[in-house]
């Protein structure tokens, strides 16, 4: 454990964002697939729910999650019974909050990619003897790789930049729920502008590098096709 509180906040942030991205890919992929293939009218309802975090103030989501996570409500009680720990103001709480808050950033690019891919190549795979899982890993995944990279990095970056939800349901516990954006807020509140600059600057540069890497990775296959 780093003794420097800002490094500790960085570690917590990376842990939160990494875990959130992993969970989002695991549940976002089947959800996006289901939405892309869905044909009845409930599709728009689910789409609206997935897109809600895009327009909702994070504090609103955080507020309702806080109520749900409290030991007085059913989800909070169930969590406490199974894990023996309180859910609100824990690391698990901010991961669950982040998953919900960043869901559209993962589901939407994947859904679009699956819709664009269509059924024709999957049908071709099926008549060549490939079953559904085979088709997903050997046709869908290689052809939508770029969208998976985009979805994962958007989900990761958005989770790193999160403030409202974490503050509402996580509070500000060092090593547990104190993430970079909250640490930055603390420094500004304490008029410690030098430290605030360091944090804000490194977040800015870090995000730039991450985005540049994404575009670089997405750029490569395109260049290969052209040559």
């Amino acid at each position: 454990m780093p003794t420097n509180p800002d490094l500790l906040a960085l570690l917590t942030t990376m842990k939160m964002a990494g875990l959130t991205t992993l969970i989002l890919l695991l549940i976002g992929t089947p959800l996006a697939w289901y939405l892309a293939k869905m044909e009845n009218r409930f599709k728009v309802v689910i789409e609206a729910i997935v897109a809600l975090p895009l327009v909702l103030p994070p504090t609103v989501l955080g507020f309702y999650l806080l109520l749900a996570f409290s030991p007085q409500s059913l989800p909070g009680q169930l969590w406490q019974q199974t894990t023996g720990q309180q859910l609100a103001f824990s690391f698990s709480a901010i991961v669950i909050g982040s998953v919900l808050y960043s869901l559209p950033f993962v589901v939407q690019p994947l859904q679009k990619a699956f819709e664009q891919l269509g059924d024709s190549l999957l049908e071709a795979g099926a008549v060549l003897g490939a079953g559904p899982i085979d088709r997903f890993f050997n046709i869908v995944l290689p052809l939508t790789k770029a969208s998976f990279i985009t979805a994962a990095s958007l989900g990761f970056a958005h989770t790193v930049g999160e403030f409202g939800v974490v503050l509402m349901i996580g509070g500000n516990i060092p090593g547990e729920t104190r993430v970079l954006s909250i640490a930055l807020f603390d420094h500004v509140e304490a008029f410690n502008y030098a430290k605030a600059h360091l944090l804000a600057g490194s977040l800015l540069v870090g995000s730039m590098i991450l985005l540049a890497l994404i575009y670089l990775i997405n750029f490569k296959p395109l260049r290969a096709v052209k040559s």
Binding site: V127, G129, D134, L143
Partner: protein
């Protein structure tokens, strides 16, 4: 011989697709109909890509589809029966049917190159008797093996699709208008290749097309569909001859095809020196009568050693061709002082008049020929059924779709 027994119905477009037919899995079976007749839907149902169809499909003794009883009204005890029948419902997934399908659009995997596309198929094939190198050679793709599939021409892409489908070593190869997006030259190449591959691998094929010219060249049997129903099924030449009488398509009110005589006859000599005969080659109609035709129709085929050399069973090499009814003229006596080289002797078996166009059916040593004449000539020659007659046509009236 294998049989595919189909008894299905399926809501399709504005009408009910309803089909009951046993199809022989031998050679190439053409599935013919105009657009919207349900021919592609039938192929998709056979492949397992359409799960809307109800009824049964059996491949020999294997049940591919069985949705239980189709017509609920015919059930005396609906509840009991439908429940017990639900337990017997069968739908074999497309990947387990081992019928490969070549689509109209090639549907190659863009992230894989030519060879990788073929490996994709070969890896998922249970037997793997065929070698990829062998199939690359058969489809003339050896030089393109490492190319990206997106850089190929339409004809090359369709050849890769064909090679890929063959490498799954299917029990039945389904082809859904594989030539429709190609130019005439690519069509020729691919058609010859299909005939060659069919013979070499003894692979039964269903070939969907809206072009009778195409089917005349490659199909052994043909299934004719209209508005989702079977109109006819049988030998290609006989069906084409039947269609001569149904001169307009009831659906579109257009001429289905030009009235014609469709034939496959053995070559008299398998020579490759047609120059000696003034550029003509000869087919045997029977012991006495011959048909002369321009040698270039087979010259090109023997040149790339596809057509002539592939006959593994040592059968006499046959040329498939057609003669348009408008290219045959009739004469009461034979004449030798004519530039027309083909003179055949036969007996009129049918006279069919519509407006001023007359279709005469002539029986010539068991083979039927069809000739169009005007009603003026019919009167002038006072032709009658059972009358002996001479047919005349130029060597160039012997036509093939592949050239």
């Amino acid at each position: 011989m294998s049989t595919l027994s189909i008894d299905i119905s399926c809501q399709f477009g504005g009408f009910l697709f309803s089909l009951k037919q046993d199809l022989k899995l031998k050679g190439i079976t053409g599935i013919y109909g105009h657009s919207g007749s349900g021919k592609s839907t039938l192929l998709r149902i056979i492949a397992g890509l359409n799960n809307q169809a109800t009824g049964t499909i059996n491949f020999n003794d294997t049940v591919l589809l069985d949705t239980g009883l189709q017509d609920k009204k015919s059930l005396p005890d609906t509840n009991l029966n439908s429940k017990s029948k639900r337990g017997t419902q069968t739908f074999i997934q497309p990947q387990a049917r081992n019928f490969s399908l070549v689509f109209q659009d090639n549907r190659l995997f863009p992230h894989l190159n030519v060879k990788e596309n073929l490996v994709f198929a070969a890896k998922r094939c249970a037997h793997s008797k065929l070698k990829i190198s062998e199939i690359l050679k058969l489809t003339e793709l050896e030089l393109l093996a490492e190319s990206s599939v997106t850089t190929l021409s339409g004809g090359e892409q369709q050849r890769v699709a064909l090679a890929r489908a063959i490498l799954t070593e299917p029990k039945l190869l389904l082809l859904d208008e594989p030539l429709s997006a190609l130019d005439q030259n690519s069509k020729n190449v691919l058609l010859k290749m299909l005939i060659n591959i069919q013979k070499k691998l003894d692979l039964p094929m269903f070939y969907v097309s809206h072009s009778l010219d195409e089917l005349q060249q490659i199909a052994d049997n043909i299934l004719v569909l209209s508005k989702g129903e079977v109109v006819d099924y049988g030998d290609i030449h006989q069906i084409i001859h039947k269609l001569n009488y149904a001169d307009t398509d009831s659906d579109s009110n257009q001429l289905i095809m030009h009235q014609q005589t469709s034939l496959a006859l053995p070559l008299k000599v398998n020579n490759n020196q047609p120059e000696e005969n003034h550029g003509l080659n000869t087919l045997l109609l029977n012991d006495l009568q011959e048909i002369h035709f321009p040698a270039h129709l087979i010259k090109e085929r023997s040149a790339n050693k596809q057509f002539i050399t592939t006959n593994a069973l040592n059968e006499p090499v046959k040329l498939r061709f057609f003669i348009l009814a408008s290219d045959i003229s009739l004469c009461l006596e034979t004449t030798n002082n004519s530039s027309i080289v083909n003179h055949l002797h036969g007996v009129i078996s049918k006279i069919d008049c519509s407006d001023n166009n007359v279709l005469i059916t002539i029986d010539c040593a068991g083979q039927r020929f069809f000739a169009n004449i005007s009603s003026y000539s019919l009167d002038k020659l006072s032709l009658k059924v059972d009358q002996a007659i001479y047919m005349q046509f130029k060597a160039s009236a012997v036509r093939t779709f592949i050239n």
